[in-house]
Subunit: 379 residues, 2 copies
């Protein structure tokens, strides 16, 4: 029987004090749960999402065949994170555009959409909001918190912000902070959005437009960095698009038409993204990525930063991931070992680059499956 | 005594038949020469430029202290390409925006600027135009043709288009074609330019505007790919910009202000570039990069493609260059060896990424120096 998901919403009246010093007034979180919370309330698993995902982690919506959750291969009945054993929670972070309070919502101070005035959020702020959701659900301690990429940063931060509330932290394809190159790619994407004339200083809602050009460019840049050079060469190489391949002389000799398949693929990804993603959310989420750096308060010493963690850890990285390379995961592993923390680490030989954390790779899924089997929960 | 450079211009009345099937009507090439052509006319070296460089390879313009040529560390009196021995020619390719006929010039068919109607040019077309310049200068055979990056592609193409006119080909930080990832980065840059409302379908000259937003984004993307992850981390890392570093709480918590030094650096590079570079030229040059693929006509077999070369070769690559990686240079080396051609190859351990080919690295400059010393020319 397929897993049927139902989005739920929780309202919070108490403002959330943010790292920036600002505070977020009354807000709403969208979330979904799968499986059942056991009597001992010790089988909850929180899944944290990355840049363009949401609370819709697993299953599908009733009557919507095309609505598979973004981590359905990972979470569900009989899946590596088995909802027969675990009560799994997916939550949409504030600032997002998929149901939780975000820049498209009304700013109570102005009666207009927040737009660019939405408070700047950090990974730590998201974790705080998630913790409040758990409070409301009556969950004191998580069996595990888990995420990939930016979601892995949230899992890592949980282990530091609420050490007593996390028994296991599963951090996949992530990093202890962004490199200069990562920040650089984020900044180019942001500039593409902000300098799009349809951005209107972030208040484009009032103008009835969307900064599509900027969103397209941002997504195209993102896509390049999610894939490996190898998998791009394998999937696309220098193949001409079909129409062009049938052309007598091979090339069209045009700077604006699509000549190569990779161009068509990227344009399509950019178009799709600009149809559904909020430009202010893109700015907020990439900035949260830039800011995350738990070692910062310890003079850059990650070992000292990780000293307060209590959870057991599983880290997974992928060999061709150049956005969050295995070396970055190994920095976290080392910092944990320096502190004599329990950590398992798997470096998966996979051709798919950063995207691998979302894909079906038997070795990867089996490792997560084995790890979750080792997590003890009450009957 | 410093080398004083003087730009010269050569007009060609006969149209240039292009690979696309189109032809370029009467046109002008800007060029510079350094040193003296010897009586035997066998000491000429042609330098081919890459994306944003020009015919101004070496020396400086009289009275302009800030006008050093882009390869002044490589070419000049006593330099690796020693103008005491060699007669060096720098030429600006057609389609460029630095003196040769380009999209900003008047299209004789319309009386308006060419704009986006400028013919699409290939590496092979440029080589053909360069060969005509040599004809006009009375140079039958080059002692050497040399270039880095896209310039290296031109040097490679010279050895195939005019095998009898090239004794040595020096191909630095180059590749036998672009990978899908390379094309992808070019395409994002082009889309940023083309979708800038100030692009006006490539006819922005008539509107008195420049698609600056697009040019800025294009340059920022380019800059990221010219540098290595390592050198970015070393130069910028996660350093906050000075003003921010003095701020009490560290971060400004802004999605649009500059927080990290790398952001300021990239914005500055983008701004500078948009002041002087032509948007249509950017489209043309990146397309020429995409198209270059001498193995294409041989079913992708580079060994067969290189069979017709007669020149001796020096190839140089840089370990941290991920845009034109050493593996790509080794493909050329192998294809030459398969054909029993004379080839020397140096892989330089350098942290600077693709940019290394323009920088001062003693081992690199010494190898080029030694190679050019081995080139025999008449007294």
């Amino acid at each position: 029987m397929p897993l049927i998901a139902t989005p739920e919403f929780m309202h919070f009246d108490a403002p959330l004090a943010l790292q920036s010093g600002a505070s977020m007034p009354a807000y709403r979180l969208a979330y979904e749960t799968y499986g059942r919370l056991n009597a001992a309330r010790d089988n909850a698993v929180l899944i944290c999402h990355a840049l363009n995902a949401s609370h819709h982690v697993a299953g599908r919506y009733a009557g919507q065949a095309d609505s598979e959750g973004w981590w359905s291969n990972m979470v569900g009945p009989g899946k590596p994170v088995d909802t027969h054993r675990f009560f799994v929670i997916g939550v949409n972070n504030p600032g997002s555009c998929f149901g939780s309070t975000g820049p498209g919502d009304i700013n109570p101070a102005t009666g207009q959409a927040w737009g660019a005035d939405f408070p700047v959020l950090t990974v730590e702020d998201w974790v705080l909001a998630q913790a409040r959701l758990l409070d409301a659900l009556g969950i004191g301690q998580l069996a595990a918190v888990m995420g990939g990429s930016l979601g892995g940063m949230q899992a890592l931060s949980w282990s530091l912000q609420f050490p007593g509330r996390v028994r296991h932290a599963v951090v996949i394809a992530s990093a202890p902070n962004l490199t200069a190159e990562n920040i650089a790619f984020n900044e180019v994407a942001r500039r593409a959005i902000v300098t799009d004339p349809d951005f209107h200083g972030g208040h484009f809602y009032a103008h009835g437009v969307v900064p599509r050009r900027g969103l397209r460019i941002a997504r195209m840049i993102g896509h390049i960095t999610y894939l490996s050079d190898d998998v791009m060469n394998e999937k696309f190489g220098r193949q001409l698009r079909d129409a062009v391949a049938g052309h007598a002389s091979g090339y069209r000799y045009s700077t604006q038409d699509i000549e190569f398949q990779i161009e068509g693929y990227l344009r399509h990804q950019g178009d799709k993204f600009s149809d559904y993603f909020d430009a202010n959310t893109y700015l907020l989420i990439t900035r949260a990525l830039d800011y995350f750096d738990p070692a910062h308060a310890f003079g850059g010493n990650l070992t000292r930063a990780m000293a307060r963690a209590v959870a057991r850890f599983l880290l997974v990285s992928f060999t061709t991931d150049w956005r969050f390379s295995p070396a970055r995961s190994r920095e976290i592993v080392k910092a944990l070992l320096d502190n004599r923390k329990a950590v398992s680490y798997a470096e998966i030989e996979a051709p798919h680059g950063h995207d691998a954390f979302l894909l079906d790779d038997a070795r990867y899924l089996d490792i997560v499956r084995s790890y979750f089997r080792s997590i003890e929960v009450s009957a």
